[in-house]
């Protein structure tokens, strides 16, 4: 049996992830424009596109009651590859390479080693043992294992009060992905499945490096940003392996960079990237829906400031996938309140006191222990220069953080509960977006 030997299962998961990553990369050649590091940026988007095809296809296969639902994932990937080849963007002309001074070669090599070291350390952390986080068992793994074993999305998992702890209102992208890979390898192997988390980390680095290069940053600055992020142990940890924060952080970066490109009109496919990234983000966690709302607010603000009615296409690219994702979730498993948030608290007279209580708890639990690194990041932001795209990424990260810090006021179990269990992880998932924003300011075009 495949689950008896880790190496066999790991190879099987690697093969499946590789096929979907490769297919997604071919498809992404119709999405990501040419640039100095286009292969890396396209490959990063390729993982997002490939895994989105896997999860979305499986949901389609379940809905249409296919005998082997995962076939729909392969069909969807095949369709995406065909579209990618049909609408492939032309490669960039290769400018002649100037000879690099030795110190740049040395610095680049050191940064590349640091980046690979960070990746290797996370690879080891992710694969040390079968996925073990409490929330993996309670939410993501429980649903994924059930979908895999039943080859369906059973309603009882969502309607039964004894399983309320599994957060029935959460999006199903990650459990569908687990079930899809399990279906393709023919076993539930929750140790080898963890391999997709280092893949997400690698893809996040690729998108960050490629996007920064395309937007004019030097190779050294882009590499430094990716290397710093690779060692951010609060995000790339054994604890978060199995949970949704790592793919969410990847989706935030995809969505944030795509929204910046769309606002500045860098290319004709930016809105398509916004739509894909929003679909991935909204299907991963509810924070993805919040992010789409934050980005829409940014668009509205910019439209007001410029007194134009522009960005309609971008607004639609944000709103439609988010609404579709939420609507399909409701159709599939019914309407469930988000656990830990009750909008009725908006009308409470002590709302402001609860907000302050949440802020104080966030300071005490999450921010004050990280004061020194946070001060370094603030100094890095201050040391940067004017960069419209860097500023927008920082705005999106800051506005999202503001939403997360305000939400505990609406928690029926008390603001401290939500701050303790959710806010820290939600803030951590903004790290790639923040890093890209800071790097864009330090090395503007």
């Amino acid at each position: 049996m495949i689950a008896d030997r880790f190496a066999t299962a790991l190879l099987a998961v690697a093969a499946i992830a590789g096929v979907f990553w490769l297919g997604g990369t071919v498809a992404a050649s119709a999405l990501v424009p040419a640039g100095p590091a286009q292969r890396l940026e396209r490959a990063g988007w390729g993982l997002g596109l490939g895994l989105a095809a896997l999860a979305t296809g499986l949901a389609t296969g379940f809905t249409l009651a296919f005998r082997a639902p995962v076939i729909a994932s392969l069909v969807l990937l095949g369709g995406a590859v065909w579209l990618g080849r049909r609408f492939r963007l032309p490669p960039a002309p290769h400018p002649p390479r100037a000879a690099l001074p030795p110190w740049r070669i040395l610095a680049g090599t050191v940064l590349a080693v640091v980046l690979v070291w960070g990746f290797a350390a996370f690879l080891l952390r992710a694969l040390t043992e079968p996925m073990a986080s409490n929330d993996y068992f309670a939410i993501w793994g429980l649903k994924g294992k059930t979908f895999f074993a039943e080859q369906a999305i059973p309603r009882r998992l969502f309607d039964w009060s004894s399983f309320e702890f599994s957060n029935p209102g959460y999006p199903l992208g990650l459990p569908l992905l687990y079930a899809g890979i399990g279906s393709l390898i023919g076993a539930w192997e929750d140790h080898a499945l963890a391999l997709i988390f280092p893949c997400w980390m690698a893809a996040t680095s690729m998108v960050m490096y490629g996007w920064l290069r395309r937007r004019g940053a030097s190779a050294l600055a882009a590499l430094a940003a990716a290397a710093l992020l690779a060692h951010f142990g609060a995000l790339y940890s054994a604890h978060l392996t199995g949970m949704a924060e790592i793919p969410m952080a990847f989706a935030f970066l995809l969505a944030g960079t795509a929204v910046c490109d769309a606002i500045e009109g860098t290319d004709g496919r930016a809105d398509a990237r916004v739509a894909l990234a929003t679909w991935i983000a909204a299907g991963t966690k509810n924070e993805g829906l919040f992010f789409a709302g934050t980005a829409l607010a940014l668009l509205a603000l910019l439209a007001l400031l410029r007194k134009t009615a522009g960005f309609r296409r971008t607004a639609l690219a944000l709103a439609l996938p988010a609404l579709l994702s939420a609507a399909l979730h409701r159709l599939a498993v019914g309407s469930h309140p988000v656990r830990g948030i009750d909008l009725a608290y908006l009308a409470r007279p002590d709302l402001f006191d609860r907000f302050l209580e949440g802020l104080a708890a966030a300071w005490r639990i999450h921010l004050s222990p990280a004061l020194w690194p946070a001060a370094a990041v603030v100094l890095l932001i201050a040391a940067g220069r004017r960069s419209p795209h860097g500023r927008r990424l920082l705005f999106l990260a800051a506005a999202s953080a503001g939403v997360y810090l305000a939400l505990p006021a609406l928690c029926p179990y008390g603001p401290v509960w939500l701050v303790t269990w959710t806010v820290g992880r939600a803030l951590i998932a903004l790290a790639p977006l923040l890093t890209a924003g800071v790097a864009a300011r330090l090395a503007p075009s």
């Binding site: 689950a3 008896d4 030997r5 880790f6 190496a7 299962a9 640091v114 070291w117 960070g118 350390a121 080891l124 952390r125 694969l127 040390t128 043992e129 079968p130 073990a132 986080s133 409490n134 068992f137 309670a138 793994g141 429980l142 294992k145 059930t146 074993a149 039943e150 059973p154 009882r156 039964w160 004894s162 399983f163 702890f165 599994s166 192997e189 929750d190 140790h191 430094a224 290397a227 710093l228 060692h231 951010f232 142990g233 020194w372 690194p373 370094a376 990041v377 100094l379 890095l380 201050a382 040391a383 940067g384 220069r385 330090l442």
Partner: protein, 146 residues
């Protein structure tokens, strides 16, 4: 301040922030921790998935309890509708129980026990009036009294 001096100041500030930040982040990858992880992986990798889970951190709160759950899972009669586990009531135990038996619904100490559910009783005490089905490691499978 001249433009060159301003650029110099910015670069100094950026380096003064980025280099210590990088060292703080690098220091988190302690070689001792990575070595321990590598040794753990090398030891458990050739073993079946259940053994890897047994040796991991998710079952450290009570490894005998995990052994009991796996033993009970293997001896479940066909067509049971769910599993009522009589064991520790911690959040960790609740989540592990639900996951371990999935897709079969499994709950720690449900009240009342739904019809068609079997009880997996951890420990030596057997509730009176329940019908014994099978012994499992550190416990038993029983049909609850109607």
């Amino acid at each position: 301040m001249s433009v060159i001096a301003r650029i110099h100041l910015r670069r100094t500030a950026a380096a003064a922030s980025a280099v210590p930040l990088l060292f703080v982040l690098l220091a988190a990858n302690r070689p001792g921790e990575l070595e321990r992880r590598l040794a753990h992986l090398a030891h458990y990798a050739p073993r079946p998935l259940e053994v890897r889970r047994l040796g991991g951190s998710s079952t450290a709160f009570d490894r005998r309890f995990y052994f009991f759950l796996e033993s009970a899972r293997r001896k479940l009669p066909e067509d049971v509708a769910g599993v009522a586990v009589f064991g520790p009531e911690s959040e960790q135990a609740r989540n592990l129980v639900a996951y371990q038996f999935a897709p079969l619904p499994a709950v720690v100490r449900p009240r009342p026990i739904p019809a068609g559910w079997i009880a997996a009783v951890y420990g030596p005490v057997r509730p009176p009036g329940w019908r014994h089905v099978a012994d499992v490691s550190d416990g038993a499978l029983m049909w609850p009294a109607p």
